[in-house]
Each structure stands twice: as structure tokens, then as C-alpha cells.
């Protein structure tokens, strides 16, 4: 049996559509067929009870835009027929995390409060993908306003299941993105990473996810969570696909003053270079979890899952075999402060960013009688927001109040500077370590079961312990699959590099991918595809 078109890589699809040997509409039909096969009942705002059959399906799409996709696919095919350039992503099926605005399409942020919001404009990265010929199949699920690491906080339920075991979470907040890509519903998905929201679900779902340097990709049209941390980035099945996609979405934008004016290299061009002489570091601070006890505040320590540590070390060996130099014992002493500082900074920004959802201008408005304006605000926000936004607003308001701001917010900003310094020292060309990349596990564990962690906001947040430092520091990171654990769940590792070193990270990731291409685990398929 030949590979279904929807399982082809984006590079191959675009290549064949561009040379006329494949039509975009054929690829679209294949993707739609896959969606029908694996999605299960569509997520909705209706009262929800998990049913047995929900544990065998993906539920990634909040909104399917089949007609829009059909029109885009035809436009690509027409362009090819007319001898015009259909773009670098011609005919590639794309799923957009429902945190990006797409003109004429509901942009819900996974929240009841925006369930009826239809954006009048399109986010810059989405516009660039579509201009490059990608075919947008729809908007995929996420944690409400990206607030979570499991997708269980979405207002649109059932929440996505992990294609490798739909009784487990796909991770989050770009869980719908990672699940849809892993299940072959789309070849590429546009996600966002604020504390690990691209890399953690990529690791859980066995796909490639890249958080670019802060400012590498425009945030225009990304419904903000924590503006100083949010990074749009690619979710893909292969390193080459991630490189292809990043090249399309990266670059300065007149609509985003924080998007960097740094030239975009040809990420695909240098991808096959070997890693001889590159210095890749391992840090003891990433092999253990240090965190303050949520009750006592006492600092606790526990090793990451042994299977995952082993996977990281064998990945290092694989790279060493190709000539990379492995640098052990790189100190990253402020890693354990990442989550507490993130709790403060992200909540302050989130509380402010969520101010605008007041039931007045758009989105959910409480329909019952209200005495005055304040009551309208209160009732609309009480009914419109789920538990996570409320928790984050409360905490954000608290730690930014005049009397606490210095003790919490200003202190967290100083911690952020310390974390940034860890990376600067590790990557310093004249320093002791002179790393090209730091190699770590992406997550302390593999995908956990639905409901196992949800409800414990603090514990849930520690799923991001290894990913959040890069967000604080603004540096790029890529998560890639390196095998399966005993339960046949994917394990991910991440490579972190200095500012704007995406090309180098992709090159190292590709070297690993190339070398392990024939390993047995690569033939394994997510459970939802074996039914």
C-alpha cells in the first residue's frame, strides 16, 4: 500500500505540486479523508462528558474551513497550470492554532468569550503561509488563551487526544497543532510558544516543533497571552518541513514593532551540512527538576524520567559520532527559577491582555439583565472566561498591584535577566563553554493521561520546566522526536541556541534525524492510524 498523500512531507508535497506531478486538490482530499477518519466528534461548547469513543479519536479541529481550503487548493493548481509560481508551500495542508486571527474565520482562542468572534483581518504569519500556497484546513484546538500544557482547559471539548494514545493529552498549549500534524491531518501547523507551548506538545506527539528567537516571527494577529514571551513557530513532522515553514513566516513586519529586522537565511539550504566541530552542551541543571514546593516553598529536587535522560545521552552520542563535540557539565544555575518567574511575568501581562474582553465590543456578552456597566463586565467575564483565565487574571492583578509589584513583578524581571545570562555565558564565543547548542530533554515525562494532572495548576506548569528558560531568554529552541518509551509514547529532546541561530539548530536536528532514519522506532505509527 502506498503512502497516503496526506502523510507526505511538506517538502515533497510542495515539490511535486510545483512541478505539476501532483495537484493540490488531491492532497486536500487526502487530508480531508484523514480528518474524517481520525477526528471523532468535533469539539464544541456544549456540556461535555468524556465518552469511551472520545479516547480513540483526535478532536483537533475547532473549525474546519473546507471551502476556503478548496478555493486555495484550486488557486494553487490554476497557478501551476498557468505556469505561475504557486509559492514555496504550494498545496501543503496547514492547520492554524486557533489563537491566530484569520479573516472571515472564527478566532476563538479556545474560549467561550471569543467563540463568536470573527476577525476582520489575518495574522501576518498566516498571511505569509497562505501567500506561499499553503492550504488552510482550519483552526485547531488549544488550551484556553494558550493557558495550559495539556489542552484540557479549552472551552471546546472533547479536548484533543494524543494520536499515540488518545487517552492521553497531546500536551499544550499547541496540542491541537501537534496532534493534527502527528495524525497526518495536516503537514504543518502554526503554533505558539510562551513557556514551551510548541516544544512540549511536539515532544508528546512525536513531531518537530520550533520556537524561534523572540522577534523572529511577527506576532501581529496572535491573540496575546504574555506579549514579552509569545513566539509563533512551526510544528511539522520533519526537520526539513519545519525549516521550510520557518523560512516563509520569519522576518520583519510593519505591523509588529518588536519583529526583528534581521535577514532571514535560507533555512533549507544549509540543512544537510554535517555537525563536525560543533560544540553541543549538556547541563546537569536540565537532568533534574528543582522546584519550590507549592505548599512550603521549600526547594525540592527530583531527577527527570530515566528513560528520557537515557534518550538525551544517546542523542548526544549519535551527534558525537558525527563529529560534534559534546561539552559536559555546562552550568545553567538559574533554570529552576524559570517557572516561578514565569508565573509572575506571564500573569501580569495576561491579566492586562485580557482586559479587552469585556462583553461590550465583540465576543461573549452576558444576555441576562444587568444593573449597571460594572455588572455587565462582571457577568460577561464570569460566564465567558474559563477557570484558567480567571486564575491568571487574579494572580496577575495581585502581583502587579502597587504594593506588591516591586516584590513580585520587578523581582521576576530580574530573575529573567539571570536566566538570560546563563544562556549568554554558555554560548559566549570567548567563554568557557562556547556552545553552538545546548541539548536537553524537552519534557520531564512523556504524555500523561487525561485528567491526571489537570486541576493542579502548579504541577501542570512544571511540565514546562525545561522549556520555559528559553522563552525567558528569548533564544530559539527546537524539539525533535528521539524514540518511544516503554509505553510506546514519544520522547522529545530539545536543542537551544543563541539568538537567531535557528539555521544552526535545524542543521543539528537534521543531522540527528538523518543518522537515525533507519532506527526501528521511526517505523512506528500513532495508534489512531493503526485502527
Amino acid at each position: 500500500m502506498s503512502t497516503p498523500l496526506c502523510d507526505l512531507s511538506a517538502v515533497e508535497i510542495a515539490g511535486r505540486v510545483r512541478n505539476g506531478s501532483l495537484r493540490a486538490e488531491q492532497v486536500l482530499d487526502s487530508a480531508l479523508e484523514r480528518i474524517r477518519a481520525v477526528e471523532g466528534r468535533p469539539p464544541s461548547l456544549e456540556p461535555y462528558e468524556l465518552q469511551a469513543e472520545d479516547r480513540s479519536t483526535v478532536h483537533a479541529f475547532i473549525t474546519l474551513t473546507e471551502e476556503r481550503a478548496r478555493a486555495q487548493a484550486r488557486a494553487v493548481d490554476d497557478a501551476v497550470a498557468a505556469g505561475k509560481d504557486p509559492g514555496a508551500l504550494a498545496g501543503v495542508p496547514l492547520g492554524v492554532k486557533d489563537i491566530f486571527c484569520v479573516a472571515g474565520t472564527p478566532s476563538t482562542a479556545g474560549s467561550r468569550i471569543l467563540a463568536n468572534f470573527v476577525a476582520p483581518y489575518t495574522a501576518t504569519p498566516v498571511a505569509r503561509l497562505e501567500a506561499a500556497g499553503a492550504v488552510t484546513l482550519g483552526k485547531v484546538n488549544l488550551d484556553e488563551f494558550t493557558f495550559g500544557s495539556s489542552n484540557e482547559s479549552t472551552a471546546f471539548r472533547p479536548p484533543p487526544g494524543n494520536p499515540w494514545d488518545p487517552g492521553r493529552v497531546p500536551g499544550g498549549s499547541s496540542g491541537g497543532s501537534a496532534a493534527a500534524v502527528a495524525a497526518g491531518e495536516v503537514a504543518l501547523s502554526l503554533g505558539t510558544d510562551t513557556a514551551g507551548s510548541i516544544r512540549q506538545p511536539a515532544a508528546f506527539c512525536g513531531v518537530v516543533g520550533m520556537k524561534p528567537t523572540y522577534g523572529r516571527v511577527s506576532r501581529y494577529g496572535l491573540i496575546a497571552f504574555a506579549s514579552s514571551l509569545d513566539c509563533p513557530g512551526p510544528v511539522a513532522r520533519t526537520v526539513s518541513d519545519a525549516a521550510l515553514m520557518l523560512g516563509v513566516i520569519a522576518g520583519a513586519d510593519i505591523h509588529d514593532a518588536t519583529a526583528a529586522h534581521v535577514p532571514v537565511p535560507d533555512y533549507l539550504g544549509g540543512l544537510e551540512q554535517d555537525v563536525r566541530g560543533l560544540r553541543i552542551g549538556l547541563s546537569p541543571d536540565y537532568f533534574k527538576l528543582r522546584y519550590p514546593d507549592p505548599q512550603t516553598g521549600e526547594l525540592r529536587e527530583q531527577p527527570i524520567t530515566p528513560e528520557i535522560e537515557t534518550a538525551v545521552r544517546s542523542a548526544a552520542e549519535a551527534l558525537a559520532r558525527q563529529g560534534a563535540e559534546i561539552v559536559e557539565n555546562v552550568p545553567m544555575p538559574n533554570t529552576h527559577l524559570g517557572i516561578p518567574a514565569y508565573f509572575v511575568i506571564s500573569r501580569v501581562e495576561a491579566a492586562s491582555n485580557l482586559h479587552r474582553y469585556d462583553g461590550v465590543k465583540y465576543g461573549f456578552r452576558y444576555a441576562g439583565p444587568v444593573g449597571d456597566l460594572k455588572e455587565l463586565y462582571r457577568k460577561s467575564r464570569a460566564a465567558g472566561f474559563g477557570r484558567q483565565p480567571k486564575l491568571r487574571i487574579l494572580m496577575g492583578m495581585y502581583v502587579s498591584a502597587e504594593q506588591y509589584e516591586k516584590g513580585y513583578y520587578q523581582r521576576a524581571l530580574r530573575v529573567r535577566t539571570l536566566i538570560r545570562r546563563d544562556f549568554e555565558q554558555a554560548f559566549d564565543r570567548g567563554g568557557a563553554h562556547r556552545l553552538d547548542a545546548l541539548l536537553t530533554a524537552t519534557t520531564p515525562t512523556t504524555a500523561f493521561e487525561l485528567d491526571a494532572v489537570y486541576g493542579d495548576s502548579v504541577l501542570m506548569q512544571y511540565a514546562d520546566l525545561l522549556t520555559v528558560p528559553a522563552d525567558h531568554a528569548g533564544v530559539p529552541g527546537i524539539s525533535l522526536p528521539v524514540g518511544l518509551d516503554a509505553q510506546q509514547l514519544p520522547i522529545g529532546i530539545q536543542l537551544l541556541g543563541p539568538d537567531f541561530s535557528e539555521a544552526r539548530l535545524l542543521q543539528i536536528a537534521r543531522a540527528y534525524e538523518r543518522q537515525t532514519q533507519t532506527e526501528a522506532w521511526r517505523a512506528a505509527r500513532p495508534k489512531v492510524l493503526n485502527l
Binding site: 478566532s107 482562542a109 476577525a119 518588536t258 492586562s352 461590550v360 463586565y377 498591584a401 509589584e405
Partner: protein, 487 residues
């Protein structure tokens, strides 16, 4: 002031919001000026704060704010300043926060030395000068709130004085000088009626000699300089009455009712709101290069009060003339250009400008810079008058004709024969005919009513279309009338 136990003085601070006259809003491409536009017709996703949008700073706003700061003699224009979010809920604030500056604002310090009509000078310190975006407008109508977002994102400079003003007149003078400066610098049109210059006044009173500050009231919603003066005056009187009656002044917020000319209590001052300021993560810090800043400062025009002083010193103008000629920048430039073209004669240029050019400007409703009658035209008309090539009245007529058509005045004079009638023979002929035609007046003159000479001169002027030299005409007429007595 009432003669109570001790003399009472007012202590006034003004909080102004200045709308910058940039082409576009501060963070989006919408027009900055929505005057007269229908509600919600000059808006976009950015200024209405739709989900996912980002602000992009308008460099022209920074340029104008820097120019204003430099003109206010600030102690420092910070090479690195920050935007911040001021968080609060209000329906006309679509993001739920206002992008403003809080700590490390654009500028620090500043002052305006305010000359008062009595010759004294009041030193007014500036305690706050920062950039921010405007919010929308809420209109209450029939129990409903209507919201107009047009004004959202209009660039503002907030500028606050220390409590350094001591009377309603001083407050009014401050606003007059500030408005003059804003227009002079071309940073704002400064029209209070259009909300381009808004002013809240903090007012308290105290015995002269007492250095502390008593509880103050805040007057809001006043939309003209005259009303600011009236409102402050009323409030000072009210506070005096309260104190005389043994009552305490409470920290109210008062609203000016334009229709009735009275102040109304809006609310008791609540506890300070906590706006939970933090730096705006969607904008980079405002970085101003030292070289660029120095160039901005160097490009700052001479300020109105400095120019006035120079006009007095350099051209020997009376203070009254200098004040009027420096009221507006293009007028002062016009004056100097005209004096330069005339090669001096500053007082004569000033006279013509204050009497005739200003009237022309008023009639046409334009600034000096927009007149078709250019300074060199004025200078050449004045030269022709001084050289007696044309009469004064021809000169005045020429002003209007050049303004209407824009032609060169010398060419006009030559082409239309407007030159003065100096041909003695022709003049004599006209004079003689008038004497012959008016025996009654001649007889009266000869009987001693010599003031009739003016009437005879007027007749000659009329006959010659104003081209006769009045002095020459008078001499000729006197000669003819005298000769007649002998005959």
C-alpha cells in the same frame, strides 16, 4: 480680594493634554484628526484594540513631543524612555489599558517663564511631560452610552505644571502662551474648542506667606481659555467663602457647565486608583541618538518670547508692536523678511503691518505665511511710497490688489499709471479748474476759513484718482488761492 485677617492667595496647577497635529494616529495608520467625522468612521483593528493587534509607533509623534520638550526647557530629554500600560476598565478604552509613559518618560523637568501684562514674570515649573494615546469618547444619550472610537489612538502629550500659578489670570496667560508656543512649534493646532488643547485645573487657596498646600479641587471639562479663567475665579471665590464660613475645603472634582457658567460637583475624590502600570511589552524602548537629539535641539526655532525681546532690542520696536508681531510665527517671519527687503525702516514696516496687513489677514482669514502679498511686495510698496513714486493711499490700495492677484506691485504701478501726479503743469491745471468751479468755497476761504484748504486738496485728489502728491497739491492750491486775492 476681601480684606479678612490675612491676604489670601490662590495656588493653581494646570494639567494639560495636547493633541499633536500629526497626519496619522500614534500607533496605526488612521488619520489623527477626526474633527467633523461621523462616529466610528476613522478606526481600524489596531486603534479599536481587536484581539491580536499590535501598536506600531509613529515617529512623527516622537519628533513633535521632543520639539515641545525642548521648547519647554526640560532638564533632560531621555535618550532611552519607555511606554507603559495604564490598566483600567472603561467602555471607550477598547484595550482595557491606555498606552502611556510612566517611569522613565520622554522628558524630565522644564519650565515656562510667563510674562504678565503688568510686567511681572511668573516662573512655572513643569513636573510631567510624556506621550500617550487618547481614549475614545462616551456620549450619554437617553439613558444609553454611545461610544465613538475615532479619537482612540490620537497622539497626546500630557504636560502638568507645578502648583506655581497664583491667579485665574495667570492660568489664562499660561494657556495663551502655551497655545502660542504649540502653534509656533507646529506641534499642535492648540484649539481648545476642538479638544486639541485640554485643561484640568487644580485649585486651592492659602494665606499669603504660608508655603504649604491646602486640599485642592480639580476642575474638569472646560473648553476655552476664557472659561478656564472664569471657572478658576469662581472656584477661588467659593473656597474663600467656605473658609470664611469656617468650613473645610474638600477634595472634590468639579465640572464646568458651559451653558450656565457654573461649577458642578462631579464626585468626591476617591482613593487613588491603582492602574497597575507596567512597561508595554509590545513596544521597544524609545531610543534617541545623541546626535539626532542635538540636531532636534539645534533646529528648534527661536521661541516667541525670545523673538519679542529681540524685536525690541534689534529693531527698536515698542513692546506693543513686538508683542503683536510675535503673536504667531509666520507673522514674525514676515515682518523680518519685509524689513530685510526694505533695508530697514522697521517702525514703518511695523505700522503698515499692524494697520493694514493684519486687517488683510483678518479679512481673508489666513496667516501671514499664506498671504499672496509677500514680504518683498510689501517692502517694494513701502519703498515707492517713501520715494514718493506713489501716494500713501495708492500704496494701501496696492496691498489689496497684490493680495488679490499676486502681481509684482512695481509692474502694476507702471502698467496702470498709478504713479504719483508730479507734473507741476498738470497739477496746476486741475487745481485751477477746481478753484474756478467753486466760487463759494473760494470766497469763504478768502474770508478766513483757511481750513477749507483740506476740502480743496480732497477735490484734487479725487480728480486725480489719488495720484497727486498731497503736500505738493496743498502748496499749489495755497498759491492759486492767494494769487486770487491780489487779482
Amino acid at each position: 480680594m476681601k480684606g479678612t485677617m490675612s491676604e489670601i492667595e490662590a495656588v493653581i496647577g494646570l494639567e494639560t493634554h495636547i493633541q499633536l497635529n500629526t497626519r496619522t494616529k500614534i500607533f496605526c495608520a488612521c488619520r489623527a484628526d477626526s474633527w467633523g467625522a461621523d462616529p466610528n468612521t476613522n478606526i481600524c483593528p489596531v486603534c479599536t484594540g481587536l484581539p491580536g493587534v499590535l501598536p506600531v509607533p509613529n515617529q512623527a509623534v516622537i519628533d513633535k513631543a521632543v520639539r515641545l520638550a525642548a521648547a519647554m526647557h526640560v532638564d533632560e530629554i531621555r535618550p532611552l524612555s519607555y511606554f507603559a500600560r495604564k490598566n483600567y476598565f472603561y467602555p471607550d478604552l477598547p484595550k482595557g489599558y491606555q498606552i502611556s509613559q510612566y517611569d522613565e518618560t520622554l522628558a524630565r523637568g522644564g519650565h515656562l517663564d510667563l510674562p504678565m501684562p503688568d510686567g511681572s514674570v511668573r516662573h512655572v515649573r513643569i513636573v510631567k511631560l510624556h506621550q500617550e494615546e487618547d481614549a475614545g469618547k462616551t456620549v450619554h444619550q437617553g439613558g444609553r452610552r454611545l461610544i465613538d472610537f475615532n479619537r482612540c489612538g490620537v497622539p497626546l502629550v500630557e504636560m502638568v505644571t507645578a502648583p506655581d500659578l497664583r491667579s485665574a489670570d495667570e492660568a489664562a496667560q499660561y494657556l495663551i502662551r502655551l497655545r502660542q508656543l504649540l502653534r509656533w512649534l507646529e506641534v499642535s493646532d492648540g484649539d481648545m474648542e476642538r479638544g486639541q488643547l485640554r485643561c484640568d485645573a487644580n485649585v486651592s487657596i492659602r494665606p499669603v506667606g504660608f508655603e504649604g498646600l491646602n486640599p485642592k479641587t480639580e476642575i474638569k471639562n472646560v473648553n476655552s481659555i476664557e472659561n478656564v479663567r472664569a471657572a478658576i475665579e469662581k472656584e477661588i471665590e467659593r473656597q474663600k467663602r467656605e473658609v470664611e464660613a469656617g468650613r473645610r475645603i474638600e477634595a472634590w472634582t468639579l465640572e464646568w457647565d458651559e451653558d450656565t457658567g457654573t461649577l458642578r460637583k462631579m464626585r468626591s475624590k476617591e482613593t487613588e486608583a491603582d492602574y497597575r502600570y507596567f512597561r508595554e511589552p509590545d513596544l521597544l524602548p524609545v531610543r534617541l541618538e545623541a546626535g539626532w537629539l542635538a540636531a532636534q535641539r539645534a533646529a528648534l526655532p527661536e521661541l516667541p518670547l525670545e523673538r519679542k525681546a529681540r524685536f525690541i532690542a534689534q529693531y527698536g520696536l515698542p513692546a506693543y508692536d513686538a508683542e503683536i508681531l510675535t503673536e504667531e510665527r509666520t507673522l514674525s517671519e514676515y515682518f523680518e523678511a519685509a524689513v530685510a527687503a526694505r533695508g530697514g525702516e522697521a517702525k514703518s514696516v511695523s505700522n503698515w503691518m499692524m494697520n493694514d496687513v493684519l486687517r488683510l489677514m483678518r479679512e481673508r482669514g489666513v496667516l501671514a505665511g499664506d498671504l499672496k502679498l509677500r514680504p518683498q511686495h510689501l517692502a517694494s510698496i513701502l519703498r515707492m511710497v517713501d520715494e514718493r513714486k506713489i501716494t500713501g493711499s495708492t500704496g494701501k490700495e496696492l496691498l489689496a490688489r497684490v493680495e488679490a492677484g499676486g502681481q509684482d506691485p512695481e509692474t502694476l504701478v507702471a502698467a496702470e499709471g498709478l504713479g504719483q501726479v508730479s507734473d507741476e503743469g498738470a497739477l496746476r491745471q486741475v487745481a485751477r479748474r477746481i478753484v474756478e468751479d467753486n466760487p463759494g468755497q473760494v470766497e469763504a476761504y478768502r474770508k478766513g476759513k483757511v481750513t477749507l484748504i483740506g476740502w480743496f486738496v480732497g477735490q484734487v485728489m479725487r480728480q486725480t484718482g489719488g495720484k497727486a502728491d498731497p503736500q505738493r497739491t496743498r502748496a499749489v492750491l495755497e498759491e492759486i488761492l492767494a494769487a486770487g486775492t491780489d487779482a
